[in-house]
């Protein structure tokens, strides 16, 4: 299972993600420069956190038009996996791969903290390593993480079970329905503000994020071996 981590000018969590997939999960991983136009070799594309293109205009707005993002849209159409973390989540909403938008935090502050997150469903590869309604702790670090969607979109997200992660207890940034992470209808594209890659190595004091990557790996490997039979 091959991972690609997209690197925009201003990405800063790219190597943290690659450390998890390459060094902790021992999966082939390559960095994908934003000007690349061939990513056909990848099974999973990760769009990491950071400040792509300086977050100019709006977070993720300019990244959307980079050459690699046209290929990421094709990757999505092929039903392959995409994970957008923090700025990556913002890029996915700007690109229209996920609904809604991420706005300035309610209290206007950049928040850097560890927060409790409730896992809403566990029948998707991303979350199958967790138990239903399990509350995990993940780091957040963002200034624009307030998820917004109109009432109709929000109702559709809830009805289809597309909300995978919710802030538990205090809502740190004002997101509607305490939303911390959502997937598309197929469940193949996940966007989340918390950083699972920063909670994957016990040396950093927390490992609740690792199960997300492990769950994905297990699901895809099972699927590959099933289709090989």
């Amino acid at each position: 299972m091959k991972f690609g981590v997209v690197v925009f000018p201003g990405s800063n969590c790219d190597r943290d993600v690659a450390y998890v997939t390459r060094d902790l999960l021992h999966q082939p991983t390559r960095m994908v420069w934003h000007e690349e136009t061939d990513i056909a070799d990848l099974d999973v594309v990760v769009i990491p956190g950071g400040f792509s293109y300086g977050d100019y205009l709006r977070c993720g707005a300019i990244a959307r038009f980079s050459p690699v993002m046209q290929r990421v849209v094709e990757h999505a159409k092929q039903g392959k996996y995409i994970l957008g973390i923090c700025n990556g989540f913002q890029v996915l909403t700007e690109a229209g791969l996920l609904p809604g938008a991420l706005m300035r935090n309610r209290d206007l502050h950049f928040i850097c903290d560890r927060v409790p997150i409730k896992v809403e469903r566990t029948d998707l590869p991303w979350t199958q390593g967790y138990s239903t309604e399990q509350v995990i702790t993940l780091p957040i670090a963002h200034g624009e993480g307030c998820y917004h969607a109109d009432a109709e979109t929000l109702a559709a997200l809830e009805d289809q079970g597309q909300v995978l992660f919710r802030y538990q207890g205090d809502n740190p940034n004002g997101s509607v329905n305490n939303i911390a992470g959502i997937c598309d209808r197929s469940g193949k594209i996940l966007g989340m503000m918390p950083h699972p890659e920063r909670a994957s190595d016990s040396m950093l004091g927390a490992t609740d994020g690792l199960k997300l990557f492990q769950g994905l790996l297990t699901a895809v490997v099972e699927k590959m071996s099933a289709s090989a039979v």
């Binding site: 038009f65 209290d107 206007l108 917004h148 004002g174």
Partner: protein, 93 residues
């Protein structure tokens, strides 16, 4: 012959979207003594020049720019003014 236009683009938050920065600025204005201020909303102003065949073509291009990049229509509205400039672009010297 192509004409040269200046566009003045205003991007504003949709009425249904909360604007915490606007609320903070409003509180600042009240501290200044302007108790009569209400509904502060912060948007963006962008100006650019473009060369197009006519006003209709320029408007169509600007709509595309705004819909796809300059505004996020999920949360923002936009409007623009077009002013034709004196010089032309693309004319042979």
């Amino acid at each position: 012959m192509n004409r040269n236009y200046q566009a003045r683009i205003y991007v504003t938050l949709r009425p249904s979207v909360l604007d915490p920065a606007g609320t903070a600025v409003q509180s600042g204005l009240k501290h200044m003594g302007f108790e009569n201020v209400d509904r502060v909303r912060i948007g963006k102003y962008i100006e650019l020049t473009l060369c197009a065949e006519d006003e209709k073509a320029a408007t169509a291009q600007l709509d595309q720019m705004c819909d796809q990049l300059l505004a996020n229509v999920v949360v923002e509205n936009y409007r623009f003014e077009l002013v034709e400039m004196a010089t032309t672009i693309g004319a042979s010297a």
